[in-house]
């Protein structure tokens, strides 16, 4: 084949590739393109771990934190929503851990957390319904302000702690998260404003960051895998609800251990 024919064939190939690219299905709605700074899709990992969060506690909040501290000072092990396998969205905002997968459709942004295992769904351009049933993850709506995704969440159930001191939250909790991807697409910065007049004197803002992860798959965290009696031997529960529902009880003598689940009517 002459050089000319090769060039023609290459040009045809280039045309074909352009054709193939343009033949991709049209994005419905205003779905972002892969290169868009409004595209948060992908696997992310925290840039660092956070154990404590500075927060302007009011007297009621301070009293609860002091109660937690007294229990820990007496040698007991504190159990929060996180450790009792009922994590709330607030703890993943303040204490990012392990990998998250962000899925994005024209209608919503879905965040799939590896640890603690949790799913947050953020309805884009949505509104909070009037009859939200309070939950650990709350109800989240999002909107774009320029290239920043602004997520407002309400409808929390009051069972969620900010940090390792057990800083409390109530059903009055409201959060605003502002997600901004860096220009090179490798970093996701989140500015989080936490407002809970039940326990804090004023709204306060913290910053957390994720960086793009190489991993193709998340791992998994099976929190209820094997709760053992000895794990709760010296426990202090921030809320009664965090008492274990099931635990593996040691058998006596030759009797093997067995899993026992507590039910309310018992």
């Amino acid at each position: 084949m002459s050089a000319y024919v090769t060039k023609v064939a290459l040009a045809a190939a280039a045309l074909a590739l352009m054709h193939a690219a343009s033949a991709q299905p049209p994005a419905s709605g205003d779905a972002p393109s892969a290169s868009s700074s409004r595209d948060l899709h992908g696997m992310w990992e925290p840039t660092r771990f956070h154990v404590l969060t500075d927060a302007p506690l009011n007297a009621a909040g301070e009293a609860l934190v002091q109660r937690n501290r007294a229990a820990m000072d007496s040698g007991r092990i504190m159990h929060t929503a996180w450790t009792s396998c009922r994590p709330g969205a607030i703890s993943s905002m303040t204490m990012p851990r392990e990998l998250i997968m962000i899925m994005q459709t024209p209608r919503e942004v879905v965040i799939l957390y590896e640890m603690p295992r949790m799913i947050r769904r953020i309805e884009l351009d949505g509104t909070h319904p009037n009859d939200i049933e309070p939950s650990y993850v709350g109800h989240s709506v999002g909107r774009w302000e320029g290239d920043t995704l602004v997520v407002e969440s309400i409808g929390f159930n009051g069972y969620g702690e900010l940090d390792a001191h057990g800083k409390p939250t109530s059903t009055r909790l409201r959060t605003v998260e502002r997600f901004t991807k860096s220009a090179d697409g490798e970093r996701l910065d989140i500015e989080i404003t936490i407002d809970d007049p039940e326990y804090y004197t004023e709204p306060f803002t913290i910053h957390r960051s994720w960086r793009r992860a190489e991993a193709r798959h998340q791992h998994e965290y099976d929190c209820m895998e094997n709760p053992r009696q000895e794990d709760f031997a010296n426990a202090y529960y921030v809320h009664d609800r965090y008492r274990p529902t099931c635990m593996r009880v040691q058998g006596e003598g030759m009797e093997p251990s067995r899993m026992v689940c507590r039910r309310e009517e018992q």
Binding site: Y4, V5, V8, A9, A12, A13, L15, A16, L17, H19, A20, A23, Q24, P25, A34, H41, S84, C85, R86, M101, I102, M103, Q104, T105, V110, L112, R117, M118, I119, S135, Y136, V137, A215, R216, H217, Q218, H219, E220, D222, M224, E225, N226, P227, R241, P244, T245, C246, R258, M259, C261, R262, R263, E264, E265
Partner: protein
């Protein structure tokens, strides 16, 4: 001469161009078809009832090895006597694959670029299928949901999952498996609008041959995949896993 050569070049160019356009056209038509099928697979699905003892597509008991059959028989007897200590879902631990597809809880399929996710209505479990290629998944140790890679075969979404921990059972009755199990799912939309998943299980440690099971799902306009927290349900006196009604 020049002219004939020109004609030959033109013919050659046209042929090359047509070949590339045809090839790319076929490719993009297939991509469009897959996008369209995937769009119709998205949304909330409710599994149709399956017996507690998972059967093959021919309605037979799976081809268990003698050792595996003994384990299964023992579990069936225990369960009959009210002892589900072999079943980790009893205390809200992960059901794993494919068990979670056989439980009376809805799941939602969503897709985003090179990923298809299954979000389950039982205690916040989810699974993300990597559609980016056939390469073996990377994992350190097995998990209950395993590591899934997907591809299209015509209108069928084929998902291959490895790294499935042997702590789970394949069905409610206690069908065992090893962590060497390879699970291949073939998902397709049926003409009546239901979703079908044909499961192929390859696990020479526990089964004498590969076997296939079939589970179907229907749209349920009332089903919602909410934030289910199993230990709270147990504490309220509800079962960890609902029975089929």
């Amino acid at each position: 001469m020049r002219s004939r050569s020109g004609n030959r070049l033109t013919a050659c160019t046209t042929a090359a161009l047509s070949a590339f356009l045809l090839a790319s056209g076929l490719y993009s038509q297939q991509t469009l078809a897959n996008e369209s099928v995937l769009a119709r697979m998205q949304g909330v699905w409710m599994p149709e009832p399956t017996p507690d003892e998972l059967r093959t597509v021919d309605g037979k008991r799976p081809p268990l090895t003698d050792e595996a059959a003994a384990i299964y028989e023992e579990r069936i007897a225990l369960r009959k006597a009210g002892d589900t200590s072999f079943d980790r879902t009893t205390w809200c631990a992960g059901p794993g694959m494919p068990r979670i597809l056989l439980m009376p809880y809805p799941f939602e399929i969503i897709s985003s670029q090179d990923r298809v996710a299954f979000i389950h209505g039982w205690y916040r479990w989810f699974r993300v299928v990597d559609m980016a290629g056939d390469a073996e998944p990377d994992f350190f140790y097995p998990t209950t949901m395993g590591f899934s890679v997907g591809r299209w075969e015509g209108d069928t979404l084929v998902i291959r999952t490895v790294g499935l921990s042997d702590v789970t059972t394949l069905d409610a009755a206690g069908l065992p498996h090893s962590d060497e199990m390879v699970l291949t799912e073939r998902l397709r939309l049926l003409p009546d609008g239901r979703l079908e998943n044909r499961l192929t299980i390859e696990d020479p440690q526990f089964y004498t041959s590969a076997w296939e099971a079939r589970v179907t799902f229907r749209r349920d306009p009332n089903a919602r995949v909410g934030d289910d927290v199993c230990p709270d349900r147990i504490a309220m006196g509800e079962p960890a896993v609902e029975e089929w009604r």
